[in-house]
Symmetry: D2
Subunit: 161 residues, 4 copies
C-alpha cells in the first residue's frame, strides 16, 4: 500500500516572511506531519505548484490533472488551497481507477492551532477506505465535488442545500 501526496499550494503551506512583511507558500509540511503521525506505510511527496488557490488558472488545473492521471499509485492525496478546491476536484472527476482526496487547511500548518495535522490524518484514512473517485476531505467530513460548498463566513465546508 503506497500513498502519493501531491502538494499544489494553499494556506496549509503558508509561511511568514518578516523581510517581506507577508505570507508566501513554503515547502510542503506533509513529511513533518507524517513523521509526527508515526505512520507505517510507504509514501511519496511531490510539490508541483505553490499556488494560493485564488490565483489558480485553468492551466494550473490541467497540470494537476496530468500529474494525477500519470500517477501509478491509485491512492492520491492533494493538498490544495481551500478557496477553489471544489473547482479542482470537478476538473479531476473524469479520472478513473484512483481514489483522489483533496484536503488543505484554514490555518497554516506552522501555526500552533492549525487544522493541518487533523486534516492530513483525516485524508490518509479516507484515501485508504473510499472507493475510486474524487473527494474533498475537510471540516471533518467527506464530500463529493458536486455536493459541497465553502461557507466563507463560518470558514468550513458544508453539503450544498
Amino acid at each position: 500500500m503506497e500513498i502519493k501526496f501531491i502538494a499544489v499550494g494553499g494556506t496549509i503551506d503558508k509561511v511568514y516572511f518578516d523581510s517581506l512583511s507577508r505570507y508566501e507558500i513554503g515547502e510542503s509540511n506533509i513529511n513533518d506531519i507524517l513523521k509526527d503521525g508515526r505512520i507505517n506505510f510507504k509514501y511519496k511527496v511531490s510539490s508541483i505548484l505553490k499556488k494560493d488557490s485564488l490565483d489558480m488558472t485553468d492551466q494550473d488545473r490541467l497540470i494537476i490533472h496530468q500529474a494525477v492521471q500519470a500517477e501509478i499509485n491509485d491512492k492520491i492525496i492533494i493538498t490544495h488551497g481551500t478557496d477553489t478546491m471544489i473547482e479542482t476536484a470537478k476538473v479531476l472527476a473524469d479520472i478513473k481507477n484512483k481514489v483522489i482526496v483533496l484536503t488543505g487547511a484554514m490555518e497554516p500548518a506552522k501555526f500552533k492551532s492549525s487544522d493541518a495535522i487533523f486534516n492530513i490524518g483525516f485524508a490518509v484514512a479516507a484515501v485508504q477506505t473510499l472507493p475510486h473517485g474524487v473527494y474533498l476531505a475537510i471540516s471533518g467530513k467527506i464530500f463529493t465535488p458536486d455536493n459541497v460548498m465553502k461557507n466563507r463566513i463560518l470558514k468550513q465546508f458544508e453539503e450544498k442545500m
Copy 2:
C-alpha cells in the same frame, strides 16, 4: 451524522505533574483537537475510565463493552492506551450494527510532536467510511483486531505475519 467519543485513558491523555514528578492521566483532549480541526459535525464525548492500558482489567473491558453496546450512535471512537488496545478490540468484536474505531497515541497529546491529532483525524474519517465492525486506527493504517500486533521496538502497529 453524529460521532460518539469514549475516552478510557492511555498515553494520549497523559499529563506531567511536577509536584509528583510523574505522569497521570488527565482530561480527554478530544474537544481541543476537534476544535483545532475545525470540524463540522455533531459529536459527544464521555470519559468513562482513566486507565493506563497496562492496568486494564477484565472488569474495565466489561465497562467499556457495556458503554459501547448501550450507545445509541452507530459511530464510536474510543481513545485507549496502545499497550492493550488489541485486547479491548477483541472483547468488543461481538457488538453488532456499529462502527467502532479504537485509537490512541504513542506520545501524549500535550506534547509538541504528538501523534494524537493525526490519529484522531484519522479515526474520524475511518469511523465515517468503514462498514460495521471493530477496528484499530493507528500508525496511519486500519486494522481488524485479529490481524494486528504492536511492535514495541518500533513503537508502531503492524499486520500480524
Copy 3:
C-alpha cells in the same frame, strides 16, 4: 514590583485570516505567554495600537511617548514591530526614571517556531535588572537605541559598526 506591558502591534501579534487570504494584527499574546511562563509578579497589559511598524507615523510615536510618559510604573515593556523599533526607541530616549524595554518577534507568536516567547521572557528579565533608560531586547541581546541596527538579511539585530 509591577511590570506594565504596552502592545503597539508588529509581527509578534500577526494572525492569519483565511477569508482575506492575508495577515492582520490580532490581540496581544502577552497574557498567554506570561501564563505559560508561570510568572509570579503583578502586571498590566494595554494594547494602544495595532500597527505594522513599517506603517508607523510620527503621530503614532507621539501616542506611544505619551502612554509611556504617563505610566505610573517605572518598568515598561513595549511589544513593537521589528522594522522600526529603533526609531521608536529613539523617540522615547528623553523619558526619565523608567526602564523601558522594547521587544517584538521575527515570527508571529502563534507560530510553532516563533521567537515571541523567548523574547518576552528575555524582556521580562531585562526590565527588572537594567538601570533607567531605553533598550531594545531582541536576538538574545540588549541594545541601546543609538548602538543597534536591524540586519534584514540575517533577520536579527546587531551592534552598529
Copy 4:
C-alpha cells in the same frame, strides 16, 4: 560575549517513553530553544548530568561545582530540576567572578504549554545584566539563593518570608 549552558537534568528535559510508560530525562532542549529564539551570540552547551533533582546527591553537586569553577566563561546558565535548585545554588555561592544563573521548568520543554522557553529567554537576559554572583531565574523573577523558597502548592518560586 559568550554564554556557557550546563544541563544537569530536571523536568525541563523530561521526555515520555511509551515503551517504559514513564518519563525520563532526555537530551538538553537548549539548542532548539536558542534556535527558535533566533539569538545572536556565541554559546556552548554541555550536558554533565541527567538527574531529577530529587535524586541529586552531594557528589552530584560537587561535580556541578567543579564544572562551574573550571569554566573559562564568566556567564553560566545551569538548567536544573526545580525541586532542589536552591540547594545547588547555595553550594555554588562561593564561586567568584562569574554570573551563575540557575533555571529550569515546571513542565517539560517538549510540552506545548511549557514554561521552558520563557525561562531560558529570561535566564539569557539575567546572565548578561546581573553582577557576579549566583541567582535563580524562574517564575519570572530573579532570586538570590538565601532568599527564596519553592511553593509546591502553587508550583512557583517566591521570596522567603
